[in-house]
């Protein structure tokens, strides 16, 4: 019994972690480059699920096709947000906070009105249940693991190897120096928003068949992303992955051991413990 529960919790922890990581990566990218806390990021995650549901369930398209339409659409949405909303107030952190809040309220309310009040779900393309040492592993949960890992690796490669990726790193390290080197900060900001939104949308679309999507799932997801970013360290992709795995395991094991409410607090207590010891996060760079 214990072995089954442990195996289940491990696999579940990994799956949860990957979804959180995708969301947190987008958030840390946007912060690293634009120096703003994108409050409405959770709503992009929600819209990813909504749009994927709409294309797959309402229009009847193939699930993967629906994903591949929703993600670029929301990447474009991210670019528009940067251009028309964040750029005018660049540098003003407080104003960006209020802006993000306004966007959050607007997007959440709009989603409720446009997409309706019911919970939305769609059958997963991965069906079936695997039994491993008595533990239950549903294929739909396992199915998203390779996709999510693929996206994370793609991001890492992009940031490390490609020219725009290096430009992003430069801007994140030192804005003025990057500008002096001729990097167009506007375009890099737009790129960051595009990639960040795409990752969040992917997370939303991937999670929709397993759970449900409804207008208010953005808030809790954003909160998880916040915890990961602080624990992992802002601006560090490796930190986000590491912290995401830790949080995924805490969520997975925590409720089994302590029940819902206490498990919720555990993540936050971890947060506070980490920053007391290392204020810039486990793998964060000092700023």
């Amino acid at each position: 019994m214990i072995l089954e529960t442990v195996i289940q919790s491990v696999f579940n922890g990994i799956m949860l972690a990957l979804v959180y990581i995708l969301i947190a990566l987008g958030l840390t990218l946007v912060f690293g480059i634009m120096r703003v806390l994108h409050f409405a990021h959770g709503e992009v995650y929600m819209l990813g699920g909504m749009l994927t549901f709409y294309f797959a369930s309402v229009l009847g398209l193939n699930y993967f096709l629906a994903l591949m339409i929703s993600i670029p659409l929301l990447a474009l949405f991210g670019i528009l947000l940067e251009r028309f909303f964040f750029r005018p107030i660049r540098g003003n952190f407080d104003a960006a906070l209020v802006l993000g809040l306004g966007l959050l309220l607007t997007l959440q309310s709009s989603a409720l009105i446009i997409f309706g009040i019911e919970d939305k779900s769609h059958p997963s393309p991965f069906q079936g249940i695997l039994h491993l040492f008595g533990a239950t592993l549903s294929m739909e949960r396992l199915g998203i693991v390779p996709i999510a890992v693929g996206l994370i690796i793609a991001l890492l490669l992009f940031v490390e190897k490609t020219k725009p990726g290096k430009a992003m790193r430069a801007v994140a390290q030192d804005l003025e120096a990057a500008q002096l080197m001729g990097i167009d900060v506007d375009r890099i900001s737009a790129l960051a928003m595009a990639i960040g939104s795409a990752l969040a949308a992917a997370a939303g679309g991937l999670i929709m068949p397993i759970f449900v999507t409804e207008a208010s799932i953005g808030g809790p997801a954003l909160l998880k992303a916040f915890v990961i970013i602080v624990v992992g360290g802002m601006g560090s992709i490796g930190g986000v992955v590491f912290a995401g795995l830790i949080l995924g395991f805490i969520d997975s094991f925590g409720a089994v051991l302590f029940g819902g409410p206490i498990a919720s607090i555990l993540g936050f207590l971890l947060l506070i413990a980490v920053i007391m010891v290392k204020p810039t996060g486990l793998m964060g760079h000092g700023e």
Partner: protein, 395 residues
């Protein structure tokens, strides 16, 4: 000379106006009804549905010429406020409705804290309020103007549990999974005392934060205790679907149930048919056995006007508004709220679900809890089969 002519004209006009007055008195007046509920955020589905029931009732009432109060026609108008699930905003809204708009009848707020917040303002002002919720302290003899027009899952438990115990005599241990807020906590408090009378013991009570979608961890804590019966009443349909699906994936074979106006369509979308097999619920197949024609008609009308999901909650607010109209017309006044209150409380009304009336004297000390029928169904082959009609009366 001209001056006197002018005066004469004025007198004639005034006389004319005065004589026209009896006709003017027949023109319909407007009666404002207040409405407070969460209309945005996670609790919005309930608030929006409640509002829809009220709007449907108002459409019917106004369409028939309005309320007839001693010969004077009154058209109803609802002023709705979004309290965003925050009782302080509920209080603000209550003040706005009562002190600024002068309303005498309010729907809301629909949760227990909201009901308490509203009643703090409405009782001294002798305003009749129609609420939901389940907590014991939201109704009472010190709040004679507060009525619960909703038979929720806590109220249903009083009569649903005995039926379940009889139909499934092998049940000995019960597990409960509830949201970690006043709905969940009030439910557990109200309903756990019923267990001993049925020979049940509580194996596990677990709370989750609203918004949780992944129940594997929580189920990992509950299922090892091998409960015979898992009760999910009061959870949103989507969440119930998730818990049922995940519990069955993890190999749980026991009885599962949920009441509380659970929408079958959402359940069936989230959980596969084989997981739902044998699931007990108050979802209904409409049309179907054990239902009244009025229920089927209301369902068709709701779906046509608003589309899915079906929320039976709309029936409660519809009937509540209609009952209020009847009480007002019987008393013949829109301001004598003590009299209207007494008529309202003692009324037996032929509603959409058949006979409804107010009870709950033993539990609350005053008859302010609505009693109405509900139908229990058991899922077979992916669809709910209406099985029995029960009256949801609270002692």
């Amino acid at each position: 000379m001209r001056k006197w002519g002018l005066v004469l004209c004025c007198v004639v006009v005034m006389l004319g106006v005065v004589s026209l007055n009896p006709l003017l008195a027949q023109a319909p007046k407007e009666l404002k009804i207040g409405f407070i509920a969460p209309l945005s955020g996670p609790a919005a589905p309930w608030g929006i549905t409640w509002l829809r029931g009220v709007e449907m009732a108002i459409k019917d009432i106004n369409g028939a010429g309005g309320m007839n109060v001693k010969g004077q026609a009154y058209l109803l108008k609802v002023i709705s406020e979004d309290d965003k699930y925050n009782p302080a905003l509920t209080t603000n809204a209550a003040h706005r409705l009562i002190d600024e708009h002068g309303v005498k009848f309010i729907h809301g707020s629909i949760t227990s804290p909201g009901a308490i917040a509203t009643s703090t303002v409405s009782e001294p002002a002798k305003v009749i309020i129609m609420v939901g919720g389940a907590a014991k302290n939201r109704l009472g003899p010190e709040k004679p103007f507060t009525f619960c027009i909703h038979v929720g899952h806590s109220e249903q438990a009083f009569t649903a549990y005995p039926w379940v115990a009889k139909a499934f005599p092998k049940i000995k241990t019960v597990a409960s999974i509830q949201p970690n807020d006043e709905t969940g906590q009030a439910y557990v408090e109200m309903v756990t005392p019923l267990y001993s009378g049925l020979g049940w013991t509580s194996a596990s009570v677990e709370y989750y934060e609203r918004g949780t979608k992944d129940f594997y961890p929580l189920l990992g804590k509950v299922l090892p205790k091998n409960p015979d019966f898992v009760n999910l009443s009061g959870n949103p349909a989507g969440t119930i679907g998730l818990i049922v699906k995940q519990a069955r994936e993890l190999g749980y074979k026991g009885v599962m149930m949920a009441t509380g106006a659970i929408d079958a369509d959402t359940l069936m979308k989230v959980a596969p048919a084989q997981a739902l097999e044998g699931f007990i619920s108050d979802s209904m197949t409409i049309p179907g056995p054990h239902l009244f024609p009025a229920e089927e008609k209301f369902y068709q009308r709701y779906m046509k006007e608003y589309g899915p999901p079906w929320q039976a909650l709309a029936i409660d607010s519809y009937d509540g508004t209609m009952m209020l109209k009847k009480a007002i017309e019987q008393v013949g006044s829109v301001t004598d709220t003590p009299a209207i209150r007494d008529v309202f409380a003692n009324m037996t009304y032929e509603g959409i679900r058949g006979k409804v009336f107010y009870g709950g004297e033993k539990t609350y000390g005053i008859k302010r809890q609505l009693a109405t029928d509900f139908v229990l169904s058991i899922f077979r082959n992916g669809k709910p089969e209406n099985t029995v009609r029960i009256n949801g009366m609270v002692p």
